[in-house]
């Protein structure tokens, strides 16, 4: 065998050695023999094994398996409960005119929520909030910097792989903070579900300027006052709402901002 072993076959070789399997086909035996006598392929094999070890150190197999089975079970449980609500979202979109409806603005959350040791390590759960605007018969996605108008209605759809508490705040360009969700104080526990519409419709008032929505998802109820203080501090720290970055609250967070010219 004169050519180097392809990535695909190197990976097969490593996977087989992981399960203590032996090469069985002629091609596998040739690949194994080649790697043993080739510096280039040996080096590549080592770099694959090193990176593989880095993943297993980052997310050990047992933790991954436990979290993945739990997430799969949670999604199954939420399927039947969520179907009626998903239908409602679709109706809303269709009556809004919309074959032209853009897909949702997905505010995917990337940072894991810090967990108490007793809860074990959870692999990155999915949490997302989609923001729509309805104007007349048209429904569209809200993107960063979007120009909205008084009378526009905002709608929200979430996706959660695990139950979470949600607090949805807004801050305008004067630094004034409002709570969008829940309607009453504090945060609200939401069940896991895929594309579930929040029971919330916000109609924008005539105030002109810019506004940022900040969604906070946490495993435990959120302290609204602390979240408001952190949002105000971040507004000062980052010099306004368009440049606002993560706020100092132990929660997964995502945001989008819009203008009302």
């Amino acid at each position: 065998m004169t050519e180097h072993v392809s990535r695909h076959h190197l990976e097969e070789l490593i996977a087989r050695s992981t399960r203590a399997g032996r090469a069985s086909t002629r091609q596998e035996l040739q690949a194994e023999a080649h790697v043993l006598s080739c510096d280039v392929c040996t080096t590549r094999r080592r770099s694959i094994e090193t990176a593989r070890a880095a993943l297993l150190a980052r997310v050990p197999a047992e933790d991954f398996a436990r979290a993945t089975l739990a997430r799969s079970a949670a999604e199954e449980r939420s399927t039947s409960a969520g179907s009626a609500r998903r239908a409602k979202v679709l109706r809303w979109s269709v009556t809004g005119g919309a074959l032209a409806v853009a897909a949702a603005c997905l505010l995917w959350i990337q940072r894991p929520v810090p967990l108490a040791p007793s809860e074990g390590i959870r692999f990155k759960g999915t949490a997302a909030l989609e923001v729509f605007v309805k104007r007349g018969q048209r429904v569209a996605t809200v993107h960063d910097g979007e120009a909205l108008a008084a009378g526009d209605q905002l709608g929200f759809v979430y996706t959660l792989s695990e139950p979470r508490h949600l607090l949805l705040l807004s801050i305008d360009d004067t630094g004034a903070i409002s709570r969008y969700y829940p309607v009453d104080a504090g945060s609200r526990a939401l069940p896991a579900g895929a594309r579930v519409q929040l029971e919330l419709a916000v109609e924008l008032d005539g105030h002109r300027g810019e506004e940022r929505l900040v969604a906070l998802f946490a495993d435990t109820p959120l302290d609204e006052n602390a979240a408001r203080r952190a949002l105000g501090a971040a507004f000062q720290r980052d010099g306004g709402l368009t440049t606002l970055e993560a706020i100092d609250v132990p929660a997964q967070q995502a945001s989008v901002w819009f203008r009302k010219p």
């Binding site: 090193t50 297993l56 993945t68 959350i109």
Partner: protein, 182 residues
Amino acid sequence: MWLLETGTGRGVTEDELARLYAEHGYLVLRRCMAYLGDVSRAQDALQEVFVRALRSADGFRGDASARTWLCRIADHLCIDLLRRERRSPFVALPAGEGEGAARDAELASALLADDGEALRTARSLMSALDSQSQRLAVLCFVDELTQEEIAAELGLSRRTVGKRIKALRERARGLLDSEGTS
């Protein structure tokens, strides 16, 4: 192949899933990284691939290896994510500063140390390609499959695959050159 042994996703034990992840998790992660270009999103996609695998385990008939099966799920998932991203751009949050972010950065470094050039080449093409060509790029640059192997996987003739790969290489060269000069 544990799925062949158990025959059903519903009966999969934690140990079996852990074994499958230990065996194939890294190559699935790297594949997702090639499509998505971000280690955090790739980790999310990795877990989603295994969730989908659990869900569809009943349909796994063993006409392909577990590796091939997982890679196909990863391909479809990532291509779908890219399609959605085109319609509504991904809103990236600033990188965190905690322990998790530092460990993500370590993992990203390890991924890039493992033939990062192939990942960059594939990723550079993603936004410019249709879904079939996206998959072709990953099979070619990430898996390093031969033209015959790619043709079999995609159900195309070897000649067609050859032409498309040639075009892909030229396109990648152009994109990487322009990235290098900008």
